[in-house]
């Protein structure tokens, strides 16, 4: 019998704990497939964040670290400096992790041009702790710590990390993608593959921001969550390449 589909060997057999309709699972698979297709098992080390993907070390079938909240880019820096250019190092981080508590670490990893890949999962909320406001929470969006909706006056405008990090001179490749439909999933995978290729070539800091759903804390069904992402997140966080030094 012909095998039509096989789970990538870069994922363990451990069952994901993610909620129905959560995009973390899709994003995990894309990263794992890219590592597998690039033959990187044995040559990659990942860093999990604090957030819903805290257990990513149980899912990615390679050497893994679990970092303190927001510190994954610093941990990845230490790893990369120690293992050298032949081993690929990546961080996988949420928006609370990367865009709030870990801003210093991500900015300076980019600023030093660390040869790492960061997968930044932006779901506009603190998923793991039950739906508090994140720096990325949209204006008018309700969260448990902005129960009547975020206002610009009180909390400022949502932070745009890809745009911001693209301004850093040593950033090499920054792209924002989404996994809301098959076409975008294919694009997201291509972007992730490109980031790892750049790292293999010894280029600088790469970050792929992936817009992601959190049906549970958005209070929506999985299908409604995709609609909400398309109607609210993508317009404020436009998809596209924000920096690509090779193309410049």
């Amino acid at each position: 019998m012909a095998v039509l589909f096989e789970k990538t060997k870069l994922l363990t057999d451990k069952q994901f704990h993610y909620c129905p309709g959560c995009h973390h699972g899709i994003i995990h698979r894309l990263v794992a497939e890219v590592l597998d297709e690039m033959n990187l098992q044995g040559k990659c080390i990942g860093v999990a964040p604090v957030g819903c993907s805290v257990f990513a070390y149980d899912y990615f079938n390679c050497d893994m670290y679990e970092a303190a909240h927001g510190r994954a880019p610093a941990v990845a820096t230490g790893i990369k400096r120690a293992v050298g250019n032949d081993t690929m190092v990546f961080t996988y981080q949420g928006d609370g992790d990367l865009a709030s508590i870990g801003t210093a670490e991500i900015v300076h990893a980019a600023h030093r041009g660390e040869k790492i890949v960061t997968i930044f999962v932006n779901n506009a909320i603190y998923g793991m702790t039950g739906g508090q406001m994140a720096p990325t929470t949209l204006i008018g969006q309700k969260a448990s710590t902005c129960p009547t909706g975020r206002t610009e006056e009180w909390s400022g405008m949502p932070i745009k990390m890809s745009e911001m990090l693209a301004q850093i001179p040593s950033s090499y490749y920054i792209e924002r993608v989404a996994v809301n439909n098959t076409a975008n999933i294919a694009k997201a995978k291509k972007a992730i593959a490109k980031a790892f290729r750049y790292q293999m070539e010894g280029k600088g800091f790469c970050m792929i921001e992936v817009l992601s759903t959190c049906p549970t804390n958005w209070g929506l069904s999985p299908v409604e969550a995709i609609d909400w992402l398309e109607n609210n997140m993508i317009p404020y966080y436009p998809l596209g390449v924000y920096r690509d030094k090779e193309a410049e």
Partner: protein, 359 residues
Amino acid sequence: MALTLMKGSEAIAEAAIRAGARFFFGYPITPQTEIPEYMAARMPEIGGCFLQAESEVAAINMVYGAAGTGARVVTSSSSPGVSLKQEGISYCAGAQVPCLIINVMRGGPGLGNIQASQGDYFQAVKGGGNGDYHLLTYAPASVQEAIDIMMFAFDKAEQYRIPVLFLADGIIAQMMEPVELPEMVDYKVDPEKKPWACTGWKAGDDPKKRGVINSIYIDTESLTVHNNELQACYKEVVENEQMWEEFNCEGAEYIITAFGTVARIAKSAITQLKEKGINVGLVRPITVWPFPYDAVKKVVDQPSVKAVLDVELNEGQMLQDVKLAVNGTKEVDFFGHCGSLMPSTDEIVNKILSMKEGK
């Protein structure tokens, strides 16, 4: 081997390198900036890595990253910077990542001052970061002792898979002393000895397990098992690693307890007191965790001993451990300074004299 005159901070840095450290991550802060400066010049000469981090928070996390690959990694800072490292130190302890942290203590709390202090004793041995953990903590009293301890500190860290802390006061880092530096250790990561290290694992690599450097154990059972494992390790450290110095203790009338530079001043005071016909001894913990409780108790339990004087460059922190050791069997008095003013020999002599007069 020849003696060289070296500044403490540079001697400590060179000793770390000779002991196999090939990675240094840090952030400038007085009075230890000479350590990162030395490392910045020296690491490239030996194929090592010096990286200036954006903060002490980042530096300790870089340590976590690099040390998790099995490398020998060191970071150094002074009190306010070491406060920032506490989160990462707790993660290193939880994830059993061996590494070396140097704290050249300065005055506190807050920004305090930049003079020598022993004000971080509590932070070093009573916690610092969150959770039930300990650091194997050495408090050297001279530059040579710091070097000698450095030469086995990584071995201890790796043997027990715990972070090692050097608790030095600013004086040790700033003074120059003639020292003897051991030969360079040719350290290479041995995957057999560090099966936990993340060096790039693939499915065919069995029986070596996939490396997971991690401190989260989400259910009560697994966290209990993990913490019991840590506690068993700490117990072994307590049993095997206590170090202390006894000076003039036999038949002494009074016992002084002190650590680090202060203990050297206490020794001068003891010599002066001897000339006055008063016999005073010194117990100096070299490991402040594990604290040498039994050694202190044994000395203090001598029938000749009337009372104990604990002297520190703070308001009485090690004092609590001394009291635990003495356990109420003898009076324990305290003399110390906050604000980084070093206790003088005369002050210690006078304090003992006043104790003797029952004042």
